[in-house]
């Protein structure tokens, strides 16, 4: 029983990470119509940024968080200006997608050049493990879960309550009409990219103590794709739910097998595509807008 609970705990925590990644993915698809294959690399970038700030510059606590947020905003802007801005009027839809693949490679390499290519450990925010009987769970997992819920709630509030958020949604749904009303589509796209970068980067910062700081963090991205499909393509609560489900499935499958857990996860993805492609909360299909 304790083991079940601890698997649940770690599954939920990882699920929130996948949820954050897939929400970021979803926001980009809704706003600009482009599948971002560099999502996992943005996560890695977040981890490396945090590592850089903590290790090389010896910051910690509030200044580090603030500087990290600032850096994420810059990275988001750079990412948009290289991968989206020159390509927004292209006729060839796949070019933006391939461009993000290239950007992912560039991000990986720059991280390795700046910080060295060895895998690095990072201290957890709250070290130690919570042990109640057979229930064993690292504190970091709990921190991950709680902080990501905060971030998700923040994103939800932003998009639903604050005017800027609703303006971004409007521009995402129909940029021509939004332009007519006076919402500058470029600024809202920029805002979306920055928010996505912050979510992914923060997720990277959270996950780094568990998975170590290394460039192969981008394998989490495929699971983010899977959670987006599972939860329903096009809805934010769906992406969150899908992420949690994938995290739980992955965690429970480690009870049976350690190496084939990817097979379980992607098997579920293929099953979903077979039985119900819209996913759980699926909405109407989105076409690429690029």
């Amino acid at each position: 029983m304790g083991m079940f609970l601890s698997l649940t705990g770690s599954g939920l925590a990882m699920g929130m990470i996948y949820a954050m990644l897939s929400v970021g993915l979803l926001l980009l698809i809704r706003a600009v119509g482009v599948t971002n294959y560099a999502q996992g690399d943005l996560l890695a970038l977040g981890a490396y940024t945090a590592f850089f700030l903590m290790d090389r510059l010896d910051l910690s606590g509030l200044p580090m968080i603030l500087l990290m947020i600032l850096l994420f905003a810059c990275f988001g802007a750079i990412f948009m200006f290289t991968c989206y801005y020159p390509l927004r009027k292209t006729k060839w839809k796949q070019s933006i997608m391939v461009c993000t693949i290239g950007a992912g490679m560039v991000i990986q390499e720059i991280c390795m050049i700046v910080c060295g290519s060895m895998v690095k450990p990072m201290d957890p925010i709250i070290p130690g493990t919570l042990t109640i009987g057979t229930f064993v769970l690292q504190y970091q997992y709990i921190v991950v879960f709680l902080l990501s819920i905060l971030v998700m709630v923040g994103v939800y509030l932003l998009f639903d309550k604050v005017y800027a958020g609703r303006a971004m949604q409007a521009a995402a749904q129909n940029s021509y009409a939004a332009n007519l009303i006076g919402i500058p589509a470029i600024l809202t796209t920029l805002g979306t990219y920055i928010i996505v970068m912050m979510i992914s980067g923060f997720a990277g910062y959270l996950v780094a103590p568990i998975f170590l700081v290394r460039t192969t963090l981008n394998t989490l991205q495929s699971k983010a794709f899977a959670s987006m499909v599972l939860g329903g393509f096009g809805s934010v609560p769906g992406a969150v739910l899908g992420g949690l489900l994938i995290g739980l499935i992955e965690a429970y499958s480690t009870y049976f097998t350690t190496v084939y857990k990817d097979v379980f996860v992607f098997g579920v993805l293929l099953l979903t595509l077979l039985i119900r492609p819209q996913g759980i909360f699926g909405e109407i299909q989105l076409k690429e807008k690029a």
Partner: protein
């Protein structure tokens, strides 16, 4: 007027092909072993990227599972040739056919998916099979891979050294490339391209969308499996690390670099990507960085790849030639020929 334009173009293409063939046939004698390895790998990847030409360039289906079928072809070949002791040509043929059959079965499920979903489905397939390759001992011997694959023995001629391989690969590549271009010009190819451009209209015109897509997927898998089989025989060793998602991404890069809808482009792209580590050897640690930057720049400035660039350059040249010859009638003719501008 139109025929006059086509004639020099086809003649030029033919001349290029002949020159290329002569070069490739004479090449094995001139190059040393190391260069031959690069040329051989480039040709094998070219065959795999032909599958992209069929699926993506003609069908508009971006599949991320090419390396999966390469891996299946390679591992089946290795198992059949080494552990089951079948004669090597038979092993290769059976492996490719078996992979194509598996691909057909998978395609029944996958081609129902549109756009994004298809891509995600193939990503899922790729990742899943990548894990299976890494761990499933009966198929791929786990992380160790399979070595000691017997050399290809075709009609009593054993392909031992690299220059023999180069000749065989060139011949195979030419045959397959001709096959692909035959498909492109056939009814199947045209139906496929109509599905790519506008599936609804295609359906109203009587094209069986699902069946055509399934056939295209299977042809693509057939080509990838052939490439995989060649990898098995050429290297003598196959391991799961050759067939991961990262390799898929670099294959995609090769295809995009050369141009998705052009056979020549795929060849150029494959060669370029294989040559890049050699040419950039002095800055080797920045290799992937340069590749990434190149990819980004490529997509911004040349989304149709090098072949696309050459094609649009050719169009501009031929237009300016026509202008000089035409005079007053040029404007109307240009409007007739390119209504879209």
């Amino acid at each position: 007027m139109k025929q006059k334009l086509l004639q020099p173009r086809t003649l030029l293409k033919l001349a290029l092909w002949v020159v290329g063939l002569i070069v490739l046939l004479l090449l094995p004698g001139q190059l040393n072993n190391y260069q031959l390895t690069i040329v051989d790998s480039a040709i094998i990847y070219f065959i795999a990227s032909l599958s992209y030409t069929v699926m993506l360039g003609m069908g508009g289906m971006m599949s991320m599972a090419t390396v999966t079928f390469m891996g299946l072809g390679a591992f089946f070949t290795a198992q059949l040739a080494k552990n089951w002791g079948l004669p090597t040509p038979l092993a290769g043929l059976l492996a490719v056919l078996a992979t194509a059959a598996i691909a057909y079965i998978l395609s029944i499920m996958l081609v129902r998916l549109e756009g994004y979903y298809f891509v995600f489905g193939t990503i899922g397939l790729c990742n899943m099979m990548s894990t299976v390759f890494q761990n499933f001992k009966p198929l791929s011997n786990g992380a160790d891979g399979i070595n000691g694959i017997p050399k290809l023995n075709l009609f009593g001629f054993t392909f031992r050294n690299l220059s023999d391989w180069c000749l065989l690969l060139v011949v195979l590549a030419v045959i397959l490339a001709i096959g692909v271009s035959r498909v492109r010009k056939s009814a199947l190819g045209r139906s496929l391209m109509s599905i790519r451009d506008n599936p609804v209209t295609a359906q109203t015109l009587g094209v069986n969308v699902l069946r055509t897509k399934r056939i295209a997927f299977t042809i693509g898998a057939f080509l990838s499996a052939t490439a995989g089989m060649l990898v098995a025989f050429h290297n003598g060793v196959v391991s799961a690390s050759l067939f991961t998602f990262n390799v898929q991404q670099s294959l995609l890069m090769m295809v995009m670099l050369g141009g998705v809808n052009s056979t020549f482009g795929a060849l150029g792209g494959a060669f370029l990507v294989q040559l890049m580590p050699e040419v950039l050897r002095p800055i080797q640690q920045y290799l992937r960085l340069v590749q990434g930057i190149l990819l980004i720049l490529l997509m911004i400035f040349m989304p149709m790849g090098i072949a696309g660039l050459l094609q649009s350059a050719w169009k501009k040249i031929s237009k300016s030639i026509q202008k000089r010859k035409g005079g007053l009638n040029v404007g109307m003719q240009q409007n007739l020929e390119n209504p879209g501008g």
